[in-house]
């Protein structure tokens, strides 16, 4: 296995329910993602793109197949091992932001650092600098309710990158935002990919947003239909 291969999925399937009502959301996914990639995953609803994303993010487990992350077999890991993998290597951005309500921006960003056991001073300093990187230096004491959608997503990005993750997983990060704000968010994500070498996996159904990615994977009916580098003919 080459050093470049960060993530390797082989024969991943996912079935919901059982018996007659069983629904196969993923019908065998094979995928390799190199370190430093910016990958957009596209497809209609029900195509399996979100399910794949959740499996990649160790938030959900595949029914069968193998998932290797930096060579480690994720499908064999316990819940706690997967939690530690998320804690130490992954960062998440969601469509619905998923910030803790009634909790200041700073405290939200600090949260992953608390679980990492960083000392208070380090935690504050890292969280402040992450907020500064997303342009929210003066908003650290505001709660999500006092922030606009774009600002909330920036806080979420700050929370995702504050631990300097290897992979940033973004599930429709611009789904709830207007076009201009969406662009700003995409620029921000691109910056972290370019300047900090964070691998980005992003689910989206908007071609405009997918255009920021270096690689676009298209899902149809639980299979990969198309996998292309941007600029190549699809």
């Amino acid at each position: 296995m080459s050093d470049e291969t960060l993530i390797r999925l082989s024969g991943i399937t996912k079935t919901y329910g059982s018996g007659q009502a069983a629904f196969q959301a993923l019908k065998g996914i094979d995928l390799a993602i190199q370190s430093g990639d910016f990958v957009a995953i596209m497809g209609h609803s029900g195509s399996g793109k979100s399910t794949t994303m959740n499996i990649l993010g160790c938030l959900d487990t595949p029914t069968s197949g193998s998932y290797r992350f930096l060579g480690a077999h994720v499908e064999q890991m316990s819940r706690n091992q997967r939690a530690l993998l998320r804690r130490n290597y992954l960062g998440f951005i969601f469509q619905g932001f998923n910030l803790l309500s009634r909790t200041t921006a700073l405290e939200n960003v600090e949260l992953p650092l608390i679980y990492r056991g960083e000392p208070v001073a380090v935690r504050h300093q890292m969280a402040r600098s992450a907020l500064e990187q997303v342009g929210l230096r003066d908003w650290e004491n505001h709660t999500p309710a006092e922030l606009s959608g774009g600002q909330q997503q920036r806080v979420a990005i700050a929370r995702a990158i504050v631990t300097r993750p290897v992979v940033l997983l973004a599930d429709e990060p611009t789904g709830n935002l207007d076009t201009r704000t969406s662009r700003e968010i995409m620029e921000l994500i691109s910056t972290f990919n370019r300047e900090h070498g964070i691998t980005v996996l992003m689910v989206t159904h908007e071609p405009d947003m997918a255009a920021y990615a270096g690689r676009v994977i298209r899902f149809v009916d639980g299979r990969v239909e198309n996998d292309s580098r941007n600029g190549e003919a699809s």
Binding site: G57, T61, N80, A83, L84, R86, R102, T103, P112, Y115
Partner: protein, 400 residues
Amino acid sequence: MLWNTLLLALRAIRRNLMRSFLTVLGIVIGVAAVITMVTLGNGATKSVSDQISSMGSNMLIVIPGQRFGPGSEGAPSFKSADVDAVRNQITAVERVAPMVNKTVTAVYQAKNWSTVVYGTSNDYFQAGNWKLAGGRTFNETEERAGKAVCVIGETVRNKLFGRQNPVGSEIRIKQFACEVVGLLKSKGQSAMGQDQDDIVVMPLRTVQRRLTGSQDINRLTVSVKNSSSIDAAKKQLTLLMRERRKISDNEEDDFRVMDTRQIAETLTSTTKILTALLGAVAAVSLLVGGIGIMNIMLVSVTERTREIGIRLAIGALEREVLLQFLIEAVVLSSLGGMVGIALATGASIILARLMNIPYLFDLGINLLSFLFSAAIGVIFGFFPARRAAGLNPIDALRHE
């Protein structure tokens, strides 16, 4: 990890002040109600038994009873000879005080007061556990001659003399004047709620001659030398009275012998029932408080499930999340419990003073209600969280 988790729990409590407050409130009210009720009930029981012992322990009271149902002729009263017979023939007896009583109006200058005159002997003061606040008891001449002298209770002093010293003054009862020779120390209310200090005591003969006009005696107050011989004394007394009153073997007693211990038991068992009843009512409020906590916890489960999803997604271990929720629940519940205990203690002390009963700290009920409410808080704060933390993070995040 523990320190971090504690920090997370405290943050969660602080940022959900309203929810935290409501949870705590449910526990506070429940705990406070139960503890206050039971504490006051215990105080009332204690006060009753105190008052009974103030009546004098080791004491038997003999009264004529009715042999047949209501409406029939009352049983005959006792005579002076009965008093002597009891005094001389029963060895366990220490003192025997005869007694007749009559409701009269006592007058001093422009004031008058309706009270009860007890005609008895000096033995009554000893047997009834009375102490003097001033003056003296009767002397032998006064008793034998039936002189118009009296010893009055605190209430009578208060109504007729105010703060003034009554000893040496004369009060008028019916048509005769009576010199006050002594003042009794206050005993307060009796267990039956009577004012024991509303009393004028005179020599037996004075009352018989001037007020009742008969040789009858309504009651014998008998004190026994020591409490172990009280049952034996009671038996002997019953036999003696049956003999003197010529009751044949197949007839029932036409008098009753009561001992103060028995009265005490009856009355304290009554207040104990009341305490249990009040405690039960308060337990309902603890239960209602518990249901309140349940509601708040269950209503917030949706929000908290998402929160748990977020925490799991960013890398919290299941046990870290659970520990946080457990600490949260324990902190809130014990806070509520402690505030409840403090509130109950304050309320009990104040109410006990207002109700004129002693305040007794009951460790058992404090612990019990504290643990019960804490258990409710922990169970309903923790178990929904445990369910949520067992979900796949993505399912917890999507929870509606």
